[in-house]
Symmetry: C2
Subunit: 347 residues, 2 copies
């Protein structure tokens, strides 16, 4: 089939060829006067598949030449083209969107003439900036318009990973009995020695048993001190530490201590048991009950609501979480705490 490059579109003037393309793959839009108008992305794909020949001023543009032209007019062409191409190769009907998203994708078996699209799709390069506020907003828009949000994230070698994005309200079943214990600050952790160790662990799964001792994290210590359930003394001097003094040393050791603390409290208030996620590269691993009886279900990473990083960091975090069979939640710590869940999927 033959098309003509006109501005940023490719026009297929022949009515029969045009309707064939439209009817087979829902490419482009039929023109009021007859024929079909294709977007550059669609034309590129059809050229790659040898289903279309594009001419300009009587000369044929090959894929490389058309790609060069498209790169000048389509922002983030590479990610968009790769995701578009991949979804087409998987047999989906993909329409370009001019609004908040890049594509609309239809459920297999349905098409633009008989149903609504199932997914909004964003094509993202791993070099792009991840901004949690904007992702939350897109996730809400998707929910409001009753479509699933699908992200196609393209890494620097062109491999694509797909994620669904959805809001999450995690909760667990852990309850606790108020208790009273004494701990000793040694280096940068708090050790509970003797009988208090067992009580504290059994009444809320605080700390980590290390031989005959219980080791509390800085967050656990601050949380228990605030509730009046723990008294801390310096191991070396034997002196009692005030809550204020402890907090300021915790903040020195962990500059984002307060942000973590907010999420720690919120998760605890949801009945979950919260432990460090350090070995998985996130802030928390979270249990729905007794850690001895459950595997941790979630990894939770807390970020400020104006947080930005490269997408590469996010996909690494999701990859790591899935590698250990856990779900990953990103908690946005703004005026309220919102959780979103990214799940790797195979579309």
């Amino acid at each position: 089939m033959a098309g003509e490059l006109v501005g940023d579109s490719v026009i297929v003037p022949d009515m029969t060829e045009g309707s064939q393309l439209y009817n087979k793959g829902y490419y482009g839009y039929p023109r009021p006067g007859g024929g079909l108008e294709l977007e550059l992305l669609e034309a590129l794909y059809l050229v790659e598949c040898a289903k279309l020949q594009v001419c300009l001023d009587g000369k044929t543009l090959d894929h490389a030449a058309l790609y060069r032209r498209a790169a000048r007019s389509v922002n983030g062409l590479q990610a968009r083209y790769l995701v578009y191409r991949d979804l087409k190769q998987r047999g989906y009907i993909v329409k370009l969107d001019q609004g908040d998203f890049h594509f609309r994708v239809y459920q297999r078996g349905s098409a633009p003439h008989n149903s609504q699209a199932k997914h909004w799709v964003l094509a993202i390069s791993e070099r792009e900036v991840f901004n949690i506020a904007s992702l939350l907003e897109k996730s809400e828009t998707s929910q409001r318009t009753r479509k699933d949000l699908l992200l196609g994230v393209v890494d620097e070698e062109g491999d694509i990973t797909y994620y669904t994005v959805e809001g999450a309200e995690p909760h667990g079943l852990a309850s606790e009995v108020p208790t009273k214990a004494e701990g000793a600050l040694i280096d940068s952790s708090v050790l509970v020695l003797g009988e208090d160790a067992d009580r504290l662990y059994e009444n809320g799964y605080y700390g980590k048993r290390i031989g005959p001792m219980l080791q509390l994290s800085l967050l656990e210590t601050a949380y228990l001190m605030e509730r009046g359930a723990l008294e801390v003394r310096s191991l070396r001097s034997g002196q009692r530490m005030g809550e204020k003094g402890f907090l300021s040393s915790a903040r020195r050791a962990q500059p984002d201590f307060d942000m973590r603390m907010r999420a720690y409290k919120d998760l605890r208030s949801r009945g979950m048991v919260v432990k460090t996620g350090f070995k998985y590269g996130t802030h928390f691993r979270v249990y729905e009950g007794d850690p001895a009886k459950h595997h941790s279900r979630y990894l939770v990473h807390v970020v400020p609501d104006d947080y930005s990083t490269v997408w590469a960091e996010i996909s690494r975090a999701v990859r790591l979480a899935h590698g250990v069979k856990k779900e990953i939640l990103f908690a946005s710590s703004g005026q309220e705490l919102s959780y979103i869940k990214l799940t790797r999927v195979r579309p």
Copy 2:
């Protein structure tokens, strides 16, 4: 058995009890006048196992009290105690070392009276600083003294991971044929379009095929430009880029570009095919030959020779590498490049 705390040691005065402890587990050192002198770490362990009672001024010190005392005199007590305790529980004979290392460990079945120790052991807390120069030095000392170097790294919850450390000289079998190609710079990668793409890939496994195109990384581009095998044009303007101009834009995009480049060249000169290790959180993944026929054997992370980070970062990197069944090498980029390999082991 009864011991008496004297300074930083525990003395078991009874000759029979002393030799029993020494003969059974090679604890402590027999005193010239009779009896046994234990180090605090050994005494702590024996108290935890209820094999020893320690007194001071006629009063018994329980484990918690003895631990509090030990924390005042032993640097990094927690990591040392946990590693010592763990190795003992695994049935090893462990002697404290006063030199460059923390412990000497004997092969199962051998003992101080009939053989040399098999391992030097360092007990390290994940909060401690990892310094590649000092680790290289320790690794060389171990080699010179014909012992294996074993690290016991204690995470913030008291879990211990063991690593062996050894020098490495990786090499591969990839050869290449000089070629000549043209690439186009788009965003921050270089695309090779048309026939050059196949040639470049086949003659050295450069780039990553993406549909009909080949995408080169910044390192690959600079390496090929330096060898006169690649010419780069700006995709938008069509203008040819000089090597200098390309290098300075690469350095802007990747501040540690030159350090990576040194390692890239060294690995290439060793016959290896080098690709980005980004998705594994390291600089490179490295193949011994055609990436289509081999899995990458190594992940390589390059650090300046004066590089320091917390141990936690290192153990995360090793964990990730083992999770994908690869070996991890840290390359120290000083006057020469040295590689060390950390391998997770179960002692």
